[in-house]
């Protein structure tokens, strides 16, 4: 088996203290590499673009966007689905791989979970802004009101509200619970007074009692167990937003699994894109090794083929089903006015990554993995664009239309990326980006660790 933790930079094997220092001192010392400042300031600048776009939107209304009839959702839903899909990799890594006893998840689960939370925040922004009157967002939830009106629970859009809210809350609980022992470690090794106070309060008085650990591991295990169907259900419900309609090529039973596979594909890509520079800046290559890149490349290869099968199936069903509208819409999708986006999708999502990922050399090369993953992120964005733009030409030619995003669509999209980067870099600055506790547990016994026990293995 590959060593999941290499030796320290000085060549000595890691022990409990050196693991804590390598990860915890990033937060406690507060010395940040130039890369952190570049990323943080870029995110902060893009966040200002979002602020501007949102202010203008609130003043003028959604008319500043390119949305129209027939394409009434436009970029808002493209970006919503893209972001929420990215978020799913975090839950997948922390929950599904936990249940499957995949110990390599330990070095990436913390920041993947953080990525989930920030990605869901970015995702949630778009439906809120698209509402037109976002200050009435609470009308989406059932609450007693004088008008006696209740939500329509047979609509996938209402399901979506519950799915995304639950997903955000559960991800936050999972993440925070995982952080509690690490916050206690930071509290005890704090170098400044404010750190002692803030991490002390956040650690909730955790003291590592054997009885508490046993309960903790049980809760963590069950959270992993319920997060796994949750993540599948969330993207299934997102795909129902489309599949429950009668639009040709949307009304398909393949949508839920196809959406879930795509979510994992893009989410893993985002984890790799973030992890490669971060591990270099903070010298954490001991914990996030080439072995991790290799495995993640393989997962992407598998999910990439699932997604490609989805594209094939859509095409096949339209042709074999002999329905005029399905086939006509397919032809419009591939060779119509927006056909270029379909071929971008095939190129970025299938052709390039799925040829390159077969090579182990490429999977373990940080440069090539970055290139492949950026390609996947672009490709998966185009996938959602292609789906949404289907509305431009569906049944009757008299109802056909055009869709062109405006400057404000792009500004909001770039801005959401800014929000994500801003939050993520703050996270790197103030919270341990790798789980100190789980890393210590993973160390061999003679180095003081739990001998590769993974959390939950003693949680009857």
């Amino acid at each position: 088996m590959h060593p999941l933790i290499k030796s320290t930079h000085t060549g000595k094997p890691h022990d409990l203290v050196s693991v804590g220092n390598a990860i915890g001192n990033v937060v406690l010392d507060g010395n940040h590499p130039r890369g952190w400042w570049i990323g943080f300031l870029a995110g902060f600048a893009m966040l200002q673009v979002l602020a501007l776009a949102v202010c203008w939107l609130f003043y003028m209304g959604v008319g500043i966007w390119g949305i129209n009839v027939p394409v009434a959702w436009g970029f808002a839903i493209v970006n919503f689905v893209w972001w929420i899909g990215i978020g799913h990799a975090g839950t997948l890594i922390s929950a599904v791989l936990l249940l499957l006893h995949q110990k390599w998840r330990t070095s990436i689960n913390r920041f993947s979970e953080a990525m989930t939370i920030f990605a869901v925040m970015c995702a949630g922004l778009f439906p809120l802004l698209h509402m037109g009157r976002p200050w009435f967002f609470y009308w989406l939830y059932p609450f007693p009101n004088v008008a006696g009106v209740w939500p329509q629970f047979r609509s996938p859009l209402t399901w979506d509200v519950f799915a995304v809210t639950t997903y955000f809350t559960v991800s936050l609980v999972f993440w925070y619970l995982g952080l509690v022992p690490d916050l206690a470690a930071l509290r005890d090794q704090a170098k400044k007074r404010w750190q002692r106070i803030v991490y002390g309060l956040l650690a909730l008085g955790w003291r590592g009692s054997a009885i508490h650990w046993r309960r903790y591991e049980k809760v963590y295990l069950i959270l992993g167990g319920i997060s796994t169907p949750l993540v599948l259900s969330v993207h299934t419900v997102v795909s129902f937003d489309f599949a429950v309609s009668i639009v040709p090529l949307w009304h398909a039973t393949i949508f839920p699994p196809f959406f879930v596979a795509g979510a994992i594909y893009s989410g893993f890509a985002m984890v790799v894109v973030i992890a490669i520079p971060v591990r270099k800046w903070y010298k954490l290559e001991d914990f996030f090794t080439e072995h991790h890149l290799d495995i993640m490349g393989k997962v992407m290869l598998a999910t990439g083929f699932l997604v490609t099968y989805g594209y094939f199936s859509e095409l096949w069903m339209a042709w074999y089903g002999h329905t005029l509208y399905e086939w006509g819409t397919t032809i419009e999708r591939m060779f119509g006015p927006y056909g270029w986006s379909y071929w971008c999708l095939i190129g970025f999502n299938c052709a390039f990554p799925l040829t390159a990922l077969w090579s182990r050399k490429m999977r373990t090369s940080p440069f090539w993995m970055s290139a492949i993953c950026i390609s996947v992120l672009i490709g998966m964005w185009f996938e959602r664009y292609v789906i949404v733009i289907t509305l431009a030409r569906e049944y009757l030619p008299s109802a056909w239309g055009h869709y062109a995003p405006t400057l404000w669509d792009y500004a909001t999209m770039i801005g959401s990326l800014g929000l994500f980067l801003f939050m993520f870099f703050l996270f790197l600055r103030y919270l341990p980006m790798i789980s100190i506790t789980e890393m210590r547990e993973l160390l061999p016994k003679k180095q003081g660790g739990g001998g590769g026990h993974s959390i939950m293995e003693n949680a009857p």
């Binding site: 022990d15 409990l16 203290v17 804590g20 059932p142 006696g148 009106v149 209740w150 329509q152 629970f153 047979r154 399901w159 519950f162 799915a163 809210t165 639950t166 809350t169 559960v170 609980v173 022992p181 470690a185 509290r187 005890d188 090794q189 909730l204 008085g205 003291r207 590592g208 009692s209 054997a210 009885i211 508490h212 650990w213 046993r214 309960r215 903790y216 591991e217 049980k218 809760v219 069950i222 959270l223 319920i226 997060s227 169907p229 259900s233 419900v237 506790t437 789980e438 210590r440 547990e441 016994k445 003081g448 660790g449 739990g450 026990h453 959390i455 293995e457 003693n458 949680a459 009857p460």
Partner: protein, 199 residues
């Protein structure tokens, strides 16, 4: 707080836990420090075998053998979260049933008001939500957390319980607790140190 000990209280064998007055420090327990999780689990097992009942082990990562030694083989969180999830699922389903059948009934494409298959996704989401929240708040409540302070934090060495040291604490409330005898017992287990921790 742990620095001043008056000679007439606290150090008298067998009377260490009586509350002599507000200013007199009271012993919380004896804290033994170990280098490995195995040594800690072994010491815990020895202490329970010797008849101690009010004790706990502390470690930077979970050591299941220590919990086993404390006669805590199975946590109660499973049933707690199950009940939480079941409550959420029922509440979610009933909410949808009531709202769309009685509260504000809408005719959607001629489907029945009580179209239960459409209520499945939200029922599921509500189950997951309440399971997770019961897990978090249930765990904190059962463990008595959050708490602002704990006598163990008065110890000089306990800082390392979240880093590289493993501790066993026999508490003064234990019926078998005796400052001298318990200290001797712990010393026999070859700890790195034994410390008296004050309330």
């Amino acid at each position: 707080m742990s620095t001043t000990v008056t000679p007439d209280a606290g150090h008298e064998p067998g009377h260490s836990h009586h509350h002599a007055g507000p200013d007199v420090p009271v012993t919380y327990g004896l804290l033994a420090e170990f280098e490995t999780g195995d040594a800690m689990a072994h010491a815990t097992a020895k202490a329970t075998a010797a008849g101690y009942t009010h004790l706990d082990a502390y470690s930077p990562y979970p050591v299941g053998e220590a919990a086993d030694a404390l006669n805590f083989p199975k946590s109660e969180m499973g049933p707690v979260m199950f009940i939480g999830g079941l409550t959420g699922a029922c509440a979610g389903f009933i909410m949808q049933y009531w709202a769309n059948t009685w509260g504000y009934s809408l005719n959607i494409g001629g489907r029945p008001y009580f179209s239960w298959p459409s209520f499945v996704p939200i029922t599921f989401e509500m189950m997951v939500l309440t399971t997770a929240l019961t897990g978090l708040f249930g765990l904190l409540a059962i463990c008595g957390l959050p708490r602002y302070n704990h006598p163990l934090f008065n110890s000089k060495t306990f800082d390392r319980a979240s880093c590289d040291r493993f501790f066993v604490c026999i508490e003064a409330t234990d019926p078998k607790f005796d400052l001298v005898a318990t200290r001797a017992f712990l010393n026999d287990l070859h700890p790195l140190s034994v410390e008296e921790v004050m309330e």
